[in-house]
Symmetry: D3
Subunit: 304 residues, 6 copies
């Protein structure tokens, strides 16, 4: 396994600066964000550390040279839009850009592209299903052709009122995964697994690792704290932001020794990238840098 | 406190038979269902043990005589429709019939009428609020005038797809209660508290009793079993029927000694009515009668 | 379900007295012991409340008349020898007598015969298997022909040094049951399930009920207390009698509300017979009678 | 074991009424209070159901006849003063009256007299010790001579400011008991064990039963609820009344099944008397009667 | 946050040596002890790393130069006497010396002075209150004038018989803090918070951090192990030294990940100073140095 | 305490390479395996990093020089055969070779020799005892004479069918240790304590440390994961390999902070050597090296 972080947490920095920071703090990889330039539609979104629009061989080589110079690998390319947004003017450009990210990965020698499958949040899973398949079958075929694996993060994207009730990403539970893997029928689609989302949904964050070991393409290391007093006031069916708080690994509900031990046991050997949405370190670049340093200290012992 | 049951569980029996069964099994009270005759719109609904349409003094006296003959009191009148259904042809007759139930209570010497406040299940709590107040202010005023208390059950009414995502009853959490009690500003509105609904929502079923002691008008004794394996498959945000099973007291998650002890501690001295939605005893009348007998055995020791 | 007890606990009493005691204490059934007359080879064995040697229609009618007179049913016939004892002079008479018990059941209108499958305690499960099948296939065929079901108790019979290391009964775990049910391939073989034996083996006593619901022919209600301090001294691999103590339901490790609730959930509708090996009430008849009375009080509420 | 109650909870009733109530509610014994007439110095004290001042054979026979008439035994005589009060005008009459209670017990055929050893609450255990021995050695000798056993309740008598910091009874822990039993060196001194006092002191209420089985002369059945929120505010070193609430068995922290099972296991065969200091049933006679009825329902199943 | 230690643990070393050790082991700050020279009245007391008696600008500059040379900051000045000792010859010099410490802090550019408020241990909190206010109001005013904050440690100072029953420091619980902060009414008085003291008092060591976030001036990192077996012998009301053992962070009851995460969440950004009273490393200087090294390893990851 | 590892995990490496690896990874000691050359009879056995057959002063000096060159000490010599094998051709050479290991230790300046006492796995502890004493008394005398301590590992050596039922090492529990220490009556025999074996036997791995502190000669750091689902299938009496998996410290059931804290508390000051039987890192040399690195990271903080 390789310890890295998600480049979105250093949105203010250039790619070069991101790689320098990673090297300086002893990280061996980074997941690079590939949002379209200039379109930040929500928090943590809209970061462009690799601009895949018209990515050339030359630019790709520059990027790879920078990586080599800093001794930092690219764990994956990340782009997390809602391709199943009911508004086609949101969904269609998202799918088009995601294609570009998939197509760019081989140029950069990157095996994994991460994202969400999206969801029409006002509709049930069943009601989303036909459009989900229609959208994703071609993307999965494209990935197969290009030798790329797509890792879908298991985030419900259900935090605020405008995402209520269904959230903006279908790919949140083993029940959904099984159905999707069966219907898409491709080795190119798998998981960018983040255990904190299972805590949010009151599910065991270790349980699915064994069954889905062959679908574990990428892992996000993020944690969450459940506020029991708040939960007693509003219940689990309320917007989760009222009763949970994103934290870094070490400050949340997950036992990271057990989690890393289970990753090891099921044979996972890929990247583990820290994600920082923990506001307790402050919303500044410096706060996020301190946060990622603490998280690294908590996780680094398990990387030998 | 008085131990009773909800008459809906003996839908096949006449009022006389219900009272005879209650007496025979040592119950001291029954909550009598008052649905409009002939309109059973969902499971457990549509039972009419008291027909409030044109209830006369004479009929009321007959009912009271039967109660006296069997030594069984009426703990409350129950009618649980969705007065906030987006379809006015559902909502309006519901409110009209609820008025009749409130108006009938004094005729029967009954202090408490139980129900739901309803909800447009596709809209958020905030979006439901104006209509909730518009509907309920007059009902609460009516109750005040008639010396009746309305006990709203804290059930989310969110079990199946057609109730997804918001359920058909707003009155599910302390946060909602506080807001409603403040806005309605009346001693005539309170709770028909059922602890199982808090387990369903991952909330502490004892915590609210102290704060809301003055609003505890009626109590339902029902329990629920959480299926952790199922929850690990689909998460808390899925329809609850996939990961919970209604059970009788004694066979679920609630510690009834602690619950009864807390009711005692906060000074509750009203009825505690067993509700049976536990299919494990079979869906027959005889099964429900066995279920209520076991539940009685579990709870009776706490009634001295 | 019907609440009863195992007649072995009243070894000093005649059948008539056993039935009178059962009736007096409100039990609805009794499992009657059918050991050969005069051959008590170990504690709790050797009790003969029904002598199946040459049982005639006339004697059977007398027994049934006594049952009817007292209003107490026979839950099953019990005979628990070691038919796989390495000494043929033990094993062969045991099998021969077990045949007689099976053959007698229809005379008494009894559907279930309970026992152990036995084991050569010095050999592994695999090494016992061929002889197990050779012994049990004919017995199971006999049971099928006679319309009788054989309920094997899941007791390891591993308590003292002479039973070490393997115990005298193979039928102790789901892994063994599955293999046996597959190899014997008959609906006539099932379980006389006693949850305390799973506690002894550090297994969840509720877990197997759902999978084996169709094999639950009879249930024993016994409990056990684990002595953690003793266990810390000698470990689980020592003779269990050093670190556990048989207790009645209510005084041991099992949550009987959960157990009875799970029996109900999986649809079990047969007898639940209390077994008393709890020496804390004294080894006298009177002590065992007090013990069975306390156990009844603990379990009776779940029988409606 | 015999189920009874402490007569102090029915202070308003005459002895005859107490016995009638006990019989009516199915109790087999009562601990009768023997305070001097007219001197109620604190809550729950000062009750005189047997006036030992000048108790005659004739009066004793009347009492015994009343007991026989109602079928209720006297489990013990109770008098709980502070014989080690620093004020001799408190301590000396207390000791003198205690002597009378001991001397009266044989007249009533009662084996056990219950009380406190007392304490100068402002001094440490060590500083109290010499006076404790000087006071108690003669009392214990007297008890031996009269064939009476003295059961000391393990209550710290530390609830309010005037009892702070040491409380008014030394006999609260196994460490003290061992020292006292060694120094007094008599089989006539033992325990009137109340498990709730161990919960108050953050001690395991079952742990001492096995070691002190020969000193268990009498048992009080009372429970207590710890208020964790209050404890987090003031800590365990504050007056306990700020963070605990006396409750009846079933509504507190103790698992009574485990407690009764352990009493049974260690061979205790004496009285278990319910004590009601649970204000949640109201401070009226009727409230205490309801409380004792609920407690009886919780405990009665364990009495066979 | 800055990781440091309390200089009292290196009593044998000079200030220069203390700073050198701190720098060598990677600590960024030290709390320097300021006891009057030569007056060590109890264990861990009497250490003088800064002599405030007649502290001159020149000596202050020397100290600051040493700090700068080693790259180690002064987290606070520490002096922990009992200013409320009933003996004026103890209390008055203590208060006088504390004034000097407060007055010296600005010379050293130090913002925080730590201590105890003291207590007459034989009297209740209420009885101490008037003298507490009389003593502390002027001290707090002085601190305000000098721009210094006083951090009171929440230690009960209740370990041995001569400190029984009340201990030598009132400032032990949120209930006391709220009252004191209200009565002293000054932003210059706050907490030097040590979570181990809450474990000792059976209180949640994380609970008060959120409410008192603005009063958190300094933090001590110490832990404690509760000896449950000893507690079962003597109870929580006995001297705590009989049932607890001071330990370093990592070897006690506190989950330091949760504690540090909560400090972070409430916005604490000050020093966290390790205190070593853990005798298991030996009572030598070398033992304490090893202990502080282990504690640093346990805590350092949380400092990024 | 000193952190090291067991050289058997680097079976492919020469002694020189083992020491180099230890030095490179910051270990301060290694337990060197001393199996007879060429006789690997089971997994993890048969490793010869020191060949004690004809070990000369010169060779010993070479070894010591290598140790000094790398700055790595020898924590102990290890040889773990079954000297109580029922086959004399196994048992006798084992005992003879063990003598040689004991005799070699002084040459290498090593104080501790580690091994098993062995067992005839088909016989009870009692039945093994006479032969155990006959074999071990002379070995213990030899050790005394040579100034060597023998540390017996508490491993049951009961993993596979050929070791069933008793395992190949008697020295597994405090009950056995006490008896052995009493019968052998020598300070030269003690423990090479591995906490994971207590988890396997369902025993508290910390509990024995205090009592046996004087017998703690060496410690192995290994962990184990219990597979509850497998245990529910086969029970604790089945071969342990069906329900447990060896893991490195940090990935198993043991809380290493508590374990190290307790070692510290009881005054243990010897070596703690990591043992790797954790297959999840792969069965290659490189896998074992990564495993030992992760285990070191988990344990190193406790070594100051």
């Amino acid at each position: 396994m390789q310890l890295g972080f998600v480049s979105a947490i250093l949105a203010e920095l250039t790619l070069e600066q991101v790689l320098a920071f990673a090297a300086d703090r002893g990280f061996s990889c980074v997941e690079l964000m590939c949002w379209p330039v200039g379109r930040a539609e929500r928090k943590y979104a809209g970061v462009t550390h690799v601009d895949v629009d018209g990515l050339t061989r030359a630019r790709a080589d520059e990027i790879l040279a920078a990586c080599e110079r800093h001794g930092v690998a690219i764990s994956g390319l990340g782009y997390y839009p809602n391709m199943l947004d009911p508004d086609p003017s949101v969904a269609e450009p998202a799918a088009a850009h995601f294609r570009k990210v998939v197509e760019s990965a081989p140029l950069l020698g990157v095996q994994t592209v991460n994202g969400f499958v999206g969801r029409d949040w006002a509709r049930t899973i069943d009601d989303n299903w036909p459009r989900f398949l229609a959208t994703w079958k071609p993307l999965v075929r494209l990935a197969e052709e290009r030798g790329v694996r797509i890792g879908i993060e298991n985030c419900p994207m259900l935090f605020t009122r405008d995402e209520w009730p269904g959230g903006k990403n279908l790919f949140t539970t083993p029940a959904v995964w099984r159905r999707a893997f069966a219907d898409l029928d491709s080795p190119a689609i798998g998981l960018n697994y983040d255990p904190s989302h299972f805590v949010l949904q009151d599910m065991d964050p270790l349980a699915p690792l064994a069954e889905f070991r062959d679908r574990l393409f990428h892992v996000h290391a993020k944690d969450v704290k459940i506020d029991r007093a708040a939960l007693d006031e509003v219940g689990r069916f309320e917007f989760p932001l009222r009763w949970h708080q994103p934290r870094i690994p070490g400050y949340g509900e997950i036992d990271w020794g057990r989690f890393m031990g289970e990753l090891q046991r099921v044979g996972y050997d890929g990247p583990v990238c820290i994600e920082v949405e923990d506001d307790t370190f402050g919303r500044s670049l410096e706060g996020r840098q301190r946060a990622v340093a603490v998280a690294r200290n908590v996780l680094a012992p398990y990387f030998g």
